[in-house]
Amino acid sequence: MSTDSPDLPRLHPRDHADHPPFRYPDYKSSVARSPDHDLVSILATLSEATGPGPAWTELSPEDADLTTNAGTGGVAIGARIIVTGRVLDAAGNGIPDTLVEIWQANAAGRYAHWRETEYDAPLDPNFLGVGQCRTDSDGTYRFQTIRPGPYPWGNHPNAWRPAHIHLSLMGPSLGSRLVTQLYFAGDPMLHLDPIYCSAPPQSRHRVLAHYDHGVTEADWATGWRFDIVLAGAEATPFEAEEVA
């Protein structure tokens, strides 16, 4: 995609060399769910220069604390962690006011989802495993949650997904859309996981959260830092009332 219009903001195209291929045979489900044709290049229009990220407004602070947001009044079981970082554009500017959504397994590696029927690990009634927040003016997001456990899946014999947290970001423009998975640096299972390994070797490290003692809170929770770089429009600070 290219932009050469003075009427539109500067857009950073998706750098395909940094992303997994659509078809990665070691991840079996990708084989029939990937296009045969090349993507069609287009001139960016107002449709690509805009996007749903800034349109969302209805979030409550409780949505960012997965240890207590099940609505039971109880507290989730497991190792409490803080996951925080900045959402950045390709030029390194923090992207304010963008939606970050996460979902994950509980400490035992079990998702609170009706389709999870094969892995007989305990459910935690006080843990839904879903959260939402918006980045602040600096592009910083912050969740409090439980460190997820690894879990088995059916891709190949004795296949296990390493512990991970799913993230969904909207960003400032349509092409900023990103769904990714955060892993924990040092996990010995990473190189066995075809989904982790589907990311190119030169960019794979960007999905690792790193332990950060500056984020760790004494007598409360360990801290993990994970910054995210989005394609698409550069961050443009704006007044919320412009779209209200």
């Binding site: 659509f22 107002l46 749903p52 349109a55 998702y111 799913h166 969904s168 990714t180 770089v229």
Partner: protein
């Protein structure tokens, strides 16, 4: 030229995409997300529904279709769209999303027919929905558009014009039977194979 670092600035590498996996429905695509209108929304209500199909022609039961569109007046609810002479609706963000139903593989949204929007290069685009398709098994999102049938403006649209003529029909919905007085459009998304949907490098 886009994508080039400015002097003195380092261009950061992008965070790699990954798959939604099978459990995204815990959070993304809840039932309310598929209803993009409320009583305050202006414009003609439309229902858009279809299948997401894999390379074997099998409906995908764990896909997510996201919609981004202008309102009935042709305005995006976004700070870059500064055409203040056009109204914004309190009851319309322009964003919706629908998971495919586990039993049928079909997605469905209730929205309004969008107005035309500028292409940023001196012309107007034909009315369209911007669609983002993801699924278990997809390691990156696919971006496409849905145009409306019997719209003369489709042929002049700057994005449609980028597509080889023999593939353009994959971008145009078909009219279905109205349901409860709501105009219904059918639009299947084929990820692979014969009549593969056109996907754009966005």
């Amino acid at each position: 030229m886009s994508g080039q670092p400015r002097p003195g600035q380092t261009r950061l590498g992008q965070t790699p995409s990954s798959t939604l996996g099978p459990f995204f429905g815990m959070l993304l695509g809840r039932p309310d997300d598929a209803t993009m209108v409320d009583d305050a929304t202006s414009g003609e209500r439309i229902r858009v529904t279809g299948l997401v199909l894999d390379g074997d022609g099998t409906p995908i039961e764990d896909a997510l279709v996201e919609v981004w569109q202008a309102n009935a007046a042709g305005r995006y609810r976004h700070p870059v769209d500064r055409r203040d002479e056009l109204p914004l609706d309190d009851g319309f963000t322009g964003f919706g999303r629908s998971p495919t139903a586990f039993e049928t593989g079909s997605w469905s949204i209730l929205t309004v027919r969008p107005g035309p929007v500028p292409d940023g290069h001196g012309g107007m685009q034909a009315p369209h929905l911007n669609l983002v398709v993801q699924a278990r098994g997809m390691l990156a999102p696919l971006f496409t558009r849905m145009y409306f049938p019997n719209e003369d403006a489709n042929d002049a649209d700057i994005v449609v014009s980028s597509v080889p003529a023999e593939r353009r029909h994959t971008l145009v919905a078909t009219r279905g039977d109205d349901v409860d007085g709501v105009t219904t459009f059918l639009h299947d998304l084929r990820l692979q194979g014969d009549d593969e949907t056109v996907f754009f490098d966005v």
